[in-house]
């Protein structure tokens, strides 16, 4: 089958405990953007047991079609039956693009599926675009340049470099995508997706594992990915105790404290608070980067924030390259005063 016969942008709509994960909506949002460039449609693939009722909500967020595989073998996530189901959907419906969330599930399912359908997979992408490959045609070989390719960008080497990857000769072009990076569309309950039920006739084999127990862990309630305002500190804050001035600012402005990797490595805050390549990706309305130098691995986790205010005493700190407003100065003098001024401004309203 020719590569151009593969059509449509597909996303894996992850659900856990029969609840759709946010990543599914984020992927639909991004897929909608890509589908527009390709003049094609968005299909969400929903796998599980008793999940059909969840399908319409995927339409509300922009999916044109939902393919549902409903089978008791898919009740709780296990690699093999989920791989069988997703690989069967790919072989039957032949998408040109297949996006999966880079979650603890997706980073297990994605590689297994890509190996089974024999295509490339780019891990943990933070940006996707439709473009030519090679990006610049090789002189004399202009006709070998392929158009409408998915270019997948991801950090590598601990976030110290950024690489853009293509998959020119295999289909689908597969990527896992970092949660929290892509934007979901606004919910519109008037949008109805076409719902298709598909039965791939899952068969048990040696790769099926037995689930002896499911143990849910009570997690710290901090979720920096949900915060609209983040007050983030780095090595420059100086000590665990000094994070108090950031907490005060966060309280005054109605935000949440977060941090860079150096802070976690120093034991000042727990890993749940970490923004960056090895931490969480965030895109709040407002991000304060206080005493953060801005290594690529940190920037990879926050550069999509709407407004970035950076305070650092080092004028050459790379954080100023991504900041909307950069202030060179002493955070110990600026932050407490800022907290007071914000309190005053809010009280005056």
């Amino acid at each position: 089958m020719a590569l151009e016969d593969y059509k449509g942008v597909f996303i894996y709509a992850q659900q856990v405990d029969n609840k759709i994960d946010n990543i599914a909506y984020e992927l639909i949002g991004e897929a909608t953007r890509l589908a527009k460039d390709l003049d094609t449609t968005v299909t969400a693939v929903l796998l599980g047991s008793g999940v059909k009722d969840l399908a319409p909500s995927l339409g509300y967020y922009g999916a044109d079609r939902v393919i549902v595989v409903d089978d008791p073998k898919l009740e709780t996530y296990r690699t093999e039956p989920y791989t069988q189901a997703l690989a069967a959907v790919i072989n039957e419906y032949k998408p040109e693009i297949m996006l999966v969330g880079a979650t603890a599930i997706g980073r297990d399912l994605g590689p297994r599926v890509s190996a089974r359908v024999k295509t490339g997979l780019t891990a943990d992408c933070t940006s996707l675009e439709i473009n030519d490959f090679p990006i610049n045609a090789i002189p004399g070989k202009e006709d070998e340049q392929k158009h409408n390719q998915l270019l997948m960008t991801r950090p590598a080497f601990g976030g110290n470099t950024i690489a853009t990857i293509a998959c020119p000769d295999n289909r689908p072009q597969m990527a896992t995508v970092r949660p929290g990076v892509m934007k979901k569309l606004a919910e519109d309950t008037s949008k109805q997706a076409e719902i298709v039920e598909f039965n791939p006739e899952l068969a048990e084999n040696n790769c099926y594992v037995e689930i002896l127990e499911v143990v849910k862990e009570v997690k710290n309630t901090v979720n920096i990915q949900d915060a609209k305002i983040l007050v983030s500190g780095g090595r420059g804050v100086g000590s665990k105790e000094n994070f108090k001035i950031l907490e005060d600012l966060a309280d005054a402005i109605g935000g949440q404290v977060s941090c860079s990797r150096a802070v976690v490595d120093n034991g000042w805050l727990a890993k749940d608070y970490q923004v960056g390549q090895t931490g969480k990706t965030v895109r709040p309305n407002l991000y304060f980067a206080i005493g953060i130098s801005g290594a690529i691995q940190h920037v990879a986790g926050m550069e999509e924030s709407d407004i970035i205010i950076a305070i650092n005493k080092d004028e050459t700190a790379p954080i100023f390259d991504v900041a909307t407003y950069g202030i060179v100065g002493d955070l110990n003098k600026i932050v407490p005063k800022l907290t007071e001024e914000i309190k005053k401004a809010k009280a005056a309203k």
Binding site: R107, A123, L151, D321, V328
Partner: protein, 261 residues
């Protein structure tokens, strides 16, 4: 019991990355280490060896220099080391790498294959599950607390907010997390023995049931379109000469302009 542990020699990214003037990585200037997750996988294998008795083989694919991590693994307690190295294997993506390693493992007797979750250079976490797929084995990703029960292995498989206790038939493949154990040190006797031991070196011809078209750069479905160590620049404002009070007024002004306060 036979355990194969897949390990990789990687540049140590923790101290930052060194670039050549042309923007490529200067690997020679960076320390080469055993990938941390792989070391945790090796530790898990050595604990199984301590508890149940096992023959532990470490396998790596890389440049001839990667022999160093095999020696280190043997000094920690691994019994045997295999280096898969060949010019035709260079430039492999995760598909071609997993195809290569599966081709090497087909020559071995194994009950358990252990890989690290991911390598700190590529951070893909793909090679382990893909090896399992090529060999038709169950994969248990992100595992801890590995126990053997008859012909089965029981593990805790970590998810975001929970873990599953899973039971799989051997042979199977596990991926290990570096957070979950503290790898042992090499022993002086171990280092001495490791220097003495032969390392098995395999090339392309030793890979079993593998097509040339699936190897190296040519056999890699994914291709690099662009690589860069530069972050995107914003067209933001930078204020370098404000006193603390002026800086605060400036921020408050911007917060007000943007309807935040």
């Amino acid at each position: 019991m036979n355990i194969v542990v897949c390990i990789k020699q990687v540049p140590d990214t923790k101290g930052g990355v060194v670039f050549n003037p042309d923007g490529t990585l200067n690997r020679a200037a960076m320390l080469a280490i055993m990938n941390p997750d792989d070391k945790a996988g090796l530790e898990a294998a050595l604990r199984l060896k301590d508890e149940y008795g096992a023959h532990v083989t470490v396998l790596t694919m890389g440049l001839p220099k990667a022999e160093e991590v095999l020696r280190e693994a043997m000094a920690m307690g691994a019994d045997e080391g295999i280096l898969v190295t060949d010019r035709v294997l260079g430039g492999a993506d995760t598909w071609a790498t997993s195809t290569t390693i599966a081709g090497a493992i087909r020559n071995l007797d194994y009950d358990l294959i252990i890989t690290g979750r991911q390598a700190i250079d590529g951070d893909t976490a793909q090679v382990g599950p893909q090896i399992a797929e090529h060999l038709g084995l169950p994969v248990l990703s992100y595992t801890q607390n590995i126990k053997i029960e008859g012909e089965s292995v029981i593990v805790e498989r970590q998810f975001d907010d929970r873990y599953h206790v899973l039971k799989a038939q051997m042979p199977c493949l596990l991926t290990a997390l570096s957070e979950l154990n503290e790898p042992r040190y090499m022993t002086p006797g171990g280092i001495f023995d490791a220097l003495d031991k032969e390392i098995t070196v395999w090339g392309r011809d030793n890979l079993k049931d593998v097509d040339d078209s699936d190897l190296g750069l040519k056999g890699s479905p994914t291709k690099i379109a662009r690589a860069s160590d530069k972050v995107r620049k914003s067209d933001g404002e930078l204020k370098a000469d404000l006193g603390a009070d002026e800086a605060v007024s400036y921020i408050v002004e911007k917060l007000t302009e943007n309807n935040i306060i």
